[in-house]
Symmetry: D2
């Protein structure tokens, strides 16, 4: 079988995770090149030997043998990179979100849909083994019809204020993962959003025009609910849990702790904290999502997270933002009306 | 020391719990009489010996030696019983709620406040040892400033439709406990309510004009949040949990299981379900709240749950009901404006 | 139905537990008298009103209307009290052990067996709801044929050295409960014992001729095993757990914690310690065992813990003591040979 | 820095784990060759490309550039392979045990000790992140002086009877890991062993001259204890737990479950079973132990598991075997006397 040929663009933290995962775990894949505008070519050569490296993505994407492009650059460049891949007829793996602008997202997703090109979005949490298993159990009816989903999603600490300024805001940058998770678990569309948000962690977040704490209610098309609570800073670490209530049972996904040791002393019973760095917490997810992407391409099967999924998440994030501003529920139809 | 003299009115389930608790655990208390319109006097004599029994509450409440009246009758008679106790200058323990009508509640609470009479409301959950301990830990700053409270409150099964018809509705009958819990934990007042509710358990609930599933967001005066999810039927039993997120930590109160046994077999690891009957689940609460009431009277100290607490809970319940009807957030001020 | 008439002897901690439990929970029982050599009669009258009190047990036991005697005096007097009850043809509830001497125990148990008198021994842990449930599940085959039982039994702290001197030693005083538990869970007899013991908590224990830490292996007649580890001082509280391994599964009984609250902070995830006072930990057991005793008498049914059970536990304790001294396994036959 | 050059001998399950781990995670290591008597060279070339492959270990070990040899062949060949490595002055990583014969083990360990060659034994469990963390916490005094160690070690199912016949028996094949774990946790030497063993899982094990269930007590030189229970078949999976009791606290290492999902339904609360294949359960251990080995060689530091550690484990296993046969405790001195 011919090896699948991939080009990776963007050697930041996520790009390196994907590159290392592919090199270690997918012998059936050929990395035909890596592009990054800033990475030092000598360092790259030392680290990755003979893999072709370029400062210019175009040069690599254009290669005829390349099957797909992995876009791991900053969000502001996603649109250009997607267009570049489309131009050359390459399949796409793109980190979330497609774009901070709703209109651009819609346009790109439409373009992909008409093209025959497969585009997968990096909503990595779907591929976390625990969440994946939960979703499958729900699909199989383990807890009956789902009535209420509760998502806890709290970051271990504030990112740099500079990052926040260009992040698109809490809903677009952070909660978007949870919006996707809610849709993934429910396998239904959201029809209305009510969100409250405020600055509790650091006033500098407010000065940067953003919020750091939020509580969002999603109403699905069949009137089932999801409620998501978010904070940029949980002092005890990265808190990522699910609780799904159905008419035949309830399913919880608990945190993944540093270790399974329990200490009893005079003060109490103590366990370790949750894994607190997203790259540790979701190490298996990143590997898993790449596996799904590669297999979908090799077997010509549907992509598990489509551009449309990305668009829906951005629409919900927009509704949430509007809801905070307008201090009232906002319907999805209201947001989609501007598209 | 003179024994405290109590009269108990209403020999339903709750009345019996209180009567038995007092007889078993408070030797410093004298039961000067028990009234019930329907209870068989011969049966009462067999069960409780020489305790004076009457079909007429007035006769017992009027006794000069009586210090306080325990009102355990149906909600519709609370107002009359409270007035009776006030007339004779007796302290009051009254099961929640004071009344289904907001106006009557307000009027009675005002009347009590001006009278020098102590009235305690039976929000028993405050006295559950776990919730009590949680509240104390929060007060002592164990988790810092509280930002988000999550209350899970799911009943093990639907009460009879006949009961639901006269219950005042889900918010007034069931969620009112959670509204009180939220205020108790936060030690702050609510300023706004957003609630969604629907019929998921049984269409007969809808025919009776009520809902059986709800999701309520409370906004407190300092913009902190509480979110409460309710169902009349959790197939796995009575689900009563708290999660409180603060800037220095997080506190969870877990369910109280039938036993502490864990079975491992070929299918998995199995534990017993939560205690599923409210009288088992809250057995310690009922005992504890009576202890607090009796001690407050004997030491002439403030009552731990006042009429004002009862009023606030009814106001929040009304706001929640309005929010479902109006499909928008409702401010507490909007409800209080009609008083 | 005629009330069951009981006399209670010994108003120490355990005596009071039983007395209060009976007064509160068994209206079908009449306490016909309480005897104690040291208790102040005025104080007793203040606390228990009109219940007949005497410094002389004989006087009360001799009353013709008395059905049974509860022996809650120090171990050294058990034999005399049992003989007194037998003399007057009264049923017996006796705190464990029957006697520190194996010979006396054997003699008394034989005497009871020939008499038509029912004697129940206070191995209260059998009646703990969790252990009771575990035993029933095992009996019903929930985990198949039992192969290995592991008992953790650690006290929260050293009793006074004076107590230890008259306790009969660690095996007879403390581990005897675990020997009974092993037999209760397995429903089989022990054939061999291997024990190791030493002084780790306080050298004064050694000076008093006892040990404070032990590890005991029991071999049952069918070659299944139990292993028991004991310490007089677990700094984190009273540690009472079971693990039972069978060919179809495994069953664990976990500790009963002070509360069900979990706190997450910067240092870790924290839970409360196990209930650390035996009267709290086993509150339900004491109530339950009295219920079984009363019901067995009222319905003329077999006693759930017989004198023979008491004898077997003392035999095992003796074998364990010998094993430590002789530094080798000791067979039960070897101990029974001296009887 | 010059790459470390390794040769791997034996392409069975463990050999492949090590080979893949090195290729994926240790770019500073050069695999200079792989030897296996039976592996198909074409298949090897397809799987591992240009890595030199040979049927003859000697040819590879003799290469002057080779720094160390990884011995992953069956136990019966370990001695020869160790001698081969010693002959050529290569460092050694050898899967446990060194040899089934005590005498040969002693002789080889002595030989290594006099040679300047580093030999590390593959007691992989020491490198499991949870056990490693536990050992460090104990070393740092987290639970004070250790008094009792309890090791649960139950396999998910019987290996083929053919395997058992050549395994050296339960103690030498399976429990040896636990003997090493006990020494590792306690950082002390064992002075006496008492073991009981029997056939409970399958009579064929008995016909093969072995046992499948055992309970072993270890007495350490300072009279502290360890107790180990083993079964070849825990129906609920691979059960690998530790409990360590000290005078300042207690530490438990719990199993590693398939997932962190919890399902509540009408029957109870359910969790997934422990990881049940040793290569999954100890995936991180295998990687970790190789990291320790490689770093010890590169930094010329002491090896974390020495030949002496291997010898001690074999001595304890021998004492356990004798104890079962002789039905009495066996001292380590008694075993060492034959060396």
């Amino acid at each position: 079988m011919k090896k699948l040929s991939l080009v990776l663009i963007g050697m930041g933290r996520i790009g390196k995770i994907h590159l290392n995962n592919i090199l270690r775990h997918f012998p059936q894949v050929q990395i035909s090149g890596v592009a990054d505008r800033d990475y030092n070519p000598e360092q790259f050569a030392r680290e990755y030997g003979s893999i072709p490296f370029s400062r210019d993505a175009k040069e690599l994407v254009a290669k005829p043998e390349v099957d797909a492009v992995l876009i791991c650059t900053p969000t502001s460049t996603h649109a250009d990179m997607i267009r570049l891949a489309l131009e050359h007829g390459k399949h796409i793996f793109c980190e979330k979100p497609v774009d901070l602008s709703l209109e651009t997202t819609k346009q790109l997703v439409d373009q992909v849909q008409g093209s025959g090109i497969k585009m997968m979005l990096g909503f990595n949490r779907r591929f976390d083994p625990d969440f994946l298993h939960a979703q499958r159990q729900i699909k199989e009816g383990r807890i009956g019809g789902v009535q209420i989903v509760k998502i806890t999603s709290r970051d271990p600490g504030l990112p740099p204020i500079e990052y926040i300024k260009h992040s698109g805001g809490l809903f677009m940058d952070m909660v978007i993962h949870d919006f996707d998770m809610a849709r993934y678990i429910m396998q239904k569309e959201v029809k209305e959003v009510y969100a409250r948000g405020r600055v509790l962690v650091d006033p500098k977040v407010g000065e940067a025009g953003d919020i750091d704490t939020a509580l969002t209610t999603l109403i699905f098309e069949d009137d089932s609910y999801a409620v998501i609570d978010n904070s940029r800073e949980a002092i005890y670490g990265y808190d990522q849990r699910l609780e799904i209530f159905g008419n035949k049972g309830m399913l919880q996904v608990e945190n993944n702790l540093h270790n399974r040791n329990i200490v009893y002393d005079k003060q109490g019973i103590h366990q370790s904290l949750p894994l607190d760095f997203f790259m540790d917490r979701y190490a298996a997810s990143y590997l898993n999502e790449m596996k799904f992407f590669i297999e979908a391409l090799q077997n010509n099967q549907p992509i598990p997270v489509s551009g449309q999924d990305g668009l829906e998440a951005v629409v919900i994030a927009t509704a949430a933002k509007w809801s905070v501003e307008k201090k009232r529920p906002v319907s999805i139809a209201e947001v989609k009306a501007i598209l």
